[in-house]
Symmetry: C2
Subunit: 110 residues, 2 copies
């Protein structure tokens, strides 16, 4: 079996980063959520949350849409198909790599 460690070492940081992994994972459960709800869910600071969302929007993993609830603005965030697929694949990749690592036995010069 090929060693899984190289793949592990090159995991995509864009998704792997804890805050964004939390956001994407939460959004796949919610479909869509507003800004402050996401903040409560993840415990991130506003600034932090805002910049992570910008990054996720840039690469097309989420959509950020300013709406109005009555008169006050309210930002709705939703995960895109691309985003949902990416995070799902990331989790599967992690699971698979861990499983491979468990059953891997050293070979060659240790």
């Amino acid at each position: 079996m090929k060693a899984p460690f190289e793949e592990l070492a090159t995991l995509d940081r864009l998704i792997h980063e804890p805050a964004r992994l939390a956001l994407l994972t939460a959004l796949t459960s919610c479909e869509s959520a507003d800004f402050l709800y996401l903040q409560r869910l993840t415990g991130l600071s506003k600034g932090n949350l805002s910049s992570h969302l910008s990054k996720l929007e840039e690469v097309g993993f989420v959509t950020v849409e300013k709406q109005f609830k009555g008169k006050t603005p309210l930002t709705r965030i939703a995960v895109t198909d691309k985003g949902r697929e990416a995070v799902e694949q990331h989790w599967q990749q992690l699971e698979q790599l861990r499983s491979k690592a468990k059953h891997w036995v050293p070979q060659g010069t240790e």
Copy 2:
């Protein structure tokens, strides 16, 4: 069920970082390995590998010991009990958080 996303967002970067996750995971399979073997396994550059190992040594997750194989120096790296436990726990935490996230249903104001 309590939302798992806050815990997800605050995962320990020291272990979560892909290169170190790969290193620790590899070392728990190997018990110990030399520098260049680890480099081949993970695909990291020497400099990179060296600095990650320093960090892991600082917090007591690995031991780094310079030995001699014949006349040429050879650095042996081994995971400590503390390190093994930490990485094992991290994997379990990931697994558990993912499982929780899957079964979690939105509550409160979305």
